[in-house]
Amino acid sequence: MSERKYTKDHEWVLVEGDVASVGISEHAQEQLGDIVFIELPDSGAEFAQGAQAATVESVKAASEIYAPISGTVVEVNEALVDEPALANSDALGKGWFFKVKIGQPDELGKLMDEAAYQKFVDSLD
């Protein structure tokens, strides 16, 4: 079981072999409020770390989601198209956004682990 890693932009990454799933954190979904639309990337799209990869529309505003690591999109979560609120109700589970084939594994080491991310979130208040 791999460990979930986080970015300062409140995305998470969970590695399964050479593929990583990407989503938004509990803190992010709380801050965004009710999510009504998610624009997902196309399968096959390539992203460099930090590139804009998706857009989340909540009832309040549109927010950009950045690629936490470099890679190629191999799957997107079609369930979010019909039920974007999954990103609120199950941000770390059924609310995943897309999966990427990991481009540069060393990028993972620079992301925050759960404890470091929690500390980071606490420092924002």
Binding site: D34, V36, F37, V59, K60, A62, V81
Partner: protein
Amino acid sequence: MADHQSDLKQTPLHALHTALGGKMVPFAGYAMPVQYPMGILKEHEHVRRQAGLFDVSHMGQVRLSGAGAAAALERLVPVDVLGLAAGRQRYALFTNDAGGILDDLMITNAGDHLFVVVNAACKAQDLAHLQQHLASDCTITPLEDRALLALQGPQAAAVMGRIAPAATRLVFMSAAVVEIGGADCFVTRSGYTGEDGFEISIPAGQAEDIARLLLAEPEVAPIGLGARDSLRLEAGLCLYGHDIDTSTTPVEAALTWALSKARRQDGPRPGGYPGAEVILRQLAEGAPRRRVGIRPEGRAPVREGAELTDGDGRVVGRVTSGGYGPTVGGPVAIGYVESNFAKPGIALAALVRGKPHPVTVAKLSFVPLNYYRG
């Protein structure tokens, strides 16, 4: 954040918002609740189905008194104020010399004075405008010691029936002094949601008690600014600074219904307000562009600033507010288009993040307007 909470003004209900778990954000210089734990979507639906309580104490309440007040106010608005009967309320606009809109407001004839409510973000400027133009003819008193609550929704009248039965005799756009919980309140039957409801002006010291009294009723939930915006958007109502401003005229803004007959070219008191020449000419000849409803296809919200293009890709308009309409169950928007595109059913595209999304020009209200007309 640039806005420090400590620099923000607080309404008389600030402690109550905090106690209710309101998420406070800066708005027009005030700390205001954008939502409560229920969340914007559920708050929105609660108002459409039951009743919601809004704190709108940040808005400006002003009293104009003196025998000349109505005639004086007519110099600033394209509206019949002299003909406004006691106990009646009317929507109005402060216009500038170019026919643009300085603010939108509500005017109520309270019998021995006029009661005016203006937008929070404009209130200092509006007060200066009133002082500059009307001070010689009437007494202008900002009512800074009063709170303003809005109770909105299909169950609002049932709730008021238990707490202040006299208020339920009011019809849409009328007003009365009503005692609530021992306080003298000024109640109008109006609002900003498209639903039946009341706005209640209360002495600041009694505001929290009355808010708690209303919130104790089973139908009533506290509602924040987020749902206030989605409710007014679905009802097609203008948000000042977005859908109307100094660059838009009342005719362009599709507010010709607010231009009273008495102040039109063939009325008894034509013109006589700033920009009348432009506005009356546009009334007669039409305006180059018009505010319309915009219904995007699919689920992606189309927000303020999005350009609208015709079949040839030419920009023919712009969205001035837009988002998700919870009652509609999809995205809705308000915008301006060149007049020949201002007909419901016309297909356009909205550019969202550079990509064209199909949209249709629609009527300005996306939901039925459930006002109580008696």
